[in-house]
Amino acid sequence: MFSIDLLRDAVVLGVLLGCFYAAVSIGLSISFGLLDVPQVAHPAFLVLASYGVYLLNDRYDIDPLLAGLMLAPLFFALGIITYRIYYETFERRGSDAAVRGIAFFFGVAFIIEVLIIVQFGVDQRSVTAPYIGKAWRFGDLRIPIRQLVAFAVAMGLTVLLAAYLSKTFMGRAIRAVAQDEEGLRLMGADPIRVKQVAFGIATAVVAVAGALLIVVAPVEPTLDRVYIGRTFCVVVMAGLGSISGTLIAAIILGVAESIVLTLFGASWAPAISFALLLGVLAVRPQGLLGR
């Protein structure tokens, strides 16, 4: 079952899917990639944001993306608090911070899961918006508009974050903190404060990505488990901390998944993306655009 038309469609849909993956991974690219915080609860925060968006959409009929933006400041604060706790309890005490940090964030993820279940029940939830459930026609190719929204948001986030990290003082400080904490201290910036802000931004981005998550597909409380592998896969494949790498890796993943789904056995799709990751790790351990 092969035709050029199918391949073309698979690639187009794959690129869009990849952009969606990029959007949900980009926060992790900062928190884990740049700051080295093993944020295993990232997907749980993502789902939490989705439920927040659901609430705003369901009760007050607010557009999901707008709701995501409204949640962003809240998540920024949440990120700052989370990093503070992480720093005080693990990073400062040194030694096996990574191992216990992972366990800590796993615990946080579980607690979030249960809180969502208690509040919203186990059923899946979705939102309504004018762009959900419609498609654009390009000849005989039809593209779901929500996928285009994901594409636009991912592009926007990538461009904005890349610009922020290279153009502003704070952004440069964030990149510097990833490489040379000591040097940053000499520059007169407090690395802990810089990291705190960076983590806040990463979490604020998660709020927007959470909106996208529920726009693209319905969510349920334990959805985060699926995204642990997927988001970390993207970030590691990208090369830690590389924003543009995140976009590229996510698109490669999306296209690979889409092509396998369309042209080969659909049931092999998850294995293909992770085999790709292992392949990249074996050949180029620092990731596609790694430092």
Binding site: F106, V118, W268, L278, P285
Partner: protein, 318 residues
């Protein structure tokens, strides 16, 4: 040190004798059903600690190794009707090869890459099993138990004892590692990998060794699960809960000493069994989450850290 070894082996013999006596004396089967699960977690947590605790390399893919154990057993039963010891031994071999493979691929890199790779591994293997019709594929497979071997009067009691045997083997191996220079080398590389290398520690070889042993034990612990459930499906065999529970057990118990994961597994395993038959709700998951957070924040050295307030460390081993 010699005295300690004698005490340990004496303890192991007493433990096995007690377990055996229990299978002969207790008629009620429930303790064996629940006990089997707890013992299985003891093996997994102890095995996890070799790499995750001593070397500081977090294996997220406990479920991959466990599941591989389960399906090795399924395959052997389906294809050759192989007996239980063969299932377990083969599972251990397959698990060690898997550990070697992942290790070679990722143990050169920083710890977190290894963690991510183990997640990837779990998904790849689960997908492969899902597409492997001979062992039931996604639909799962029901298995028939062969007749039980004397002196046991029920298969579950026998599996319980087998798992107890695996506990002793796993603990003995782990204790051996801890007391040898391998254990000290692993600790050194956990503290500082470059310093360890420059001090002469062959870090890659030690990590690979730890990964291979750990993988073999985890897969061995999974093998009897096929006969315990008499059913296997990819969803249950590769459940992420194994990874998270085992990680939690090791950290709650403490990873500096082999007794840590044993205590952690018993504590958390028993709590989970208890909760499963009492509260029965989301609270179950909540307990795991809260316990994890509480312990890693408030008791960084786990239960053993709480017990021995003043960790009197010695140059030698214990």
């Amino acid at each position: 040190m010699q005295r300690r070894s004698i005490a340990f082996w004496l303890g192991a013999v007493v433990f096995l004798a007690a377990m055996l006596a229990m299978t002969q004396l207790v008629r009620n089967e429930y303790p064996f059903f629940a006990g089997y699960v707890i013992l299985q977690f003891v093996v997994l947590a102890v095995a996890w600690t070799i790499l995750g605790g001593y070397a500081g390399y977090v294996n997220f893919g406990t479920n991959a190794f466990f599941g591989v154990g389960v399906y090795t057993a399924v395959l052997l039963v389906k294809a050759f009707g192989a007996p239980l010891p063969v299932q377990i031994a083969t599972a251990a071999v397959v698990g060690s090869l898997l550990g070697l493979g992942v290790g070679l691929l990722t143990l050169r890199m920083r710890g977190i890459f290894f963690s991510i790779a183990t997640i990837a591994l779990a998904i790849i293997i689960e997908t492969s099993i899902t597409n492997f019709r001979f062992v039931g594929g996604a639909a799962g497979i029901q298995l028939q138990r062969p007749p039980v071997t004397a002196p046991f009067d029920s298969y579950v009691k026998m599996l319980f004892f087998v798992q107890a045997l695996l506990v002793v083997i796993a603990v003995a191996i782990t204790r051996g590692i801890q007391n040898s220079r391998i254990g000290r080398g692993l600790h050194a590389l956990r503290d500082d990998e470059l310093a360890a290398e420059c001090t002469g520690v062959p870090t890659l070889r030690l990590k690979l060794l730890a990964c291979v042993i750990s993988g073999a034990l985890m897969a061995a612990a999974g093998a009897p699960a096929a006969m315990y459930l008499q059913y296997a499906n990819p969803d249950s065999a590769f459940n992420l809960n194994y990874s998270v529970s085992v990680l939690a057990m090791a950290l709650i118990g403490g990873t500096a000493h082999w007794i840590g994961p044993v205590l952690g597994a018993i504590l958390l395993g028993a709590t989970q069994q208890l909760l499963a038959v009492t509260i029965s709700s989301e609270v179950n998951v909540l307990v795991l989450g809260v316990m994890l957070v509480l312990f890693v924040v408030a008791a960084p050295k786990g239960v053993i850290g709480l017990v021995q307030r003043q960790p009197k460390r010695r140059g030698g081993s214990k």
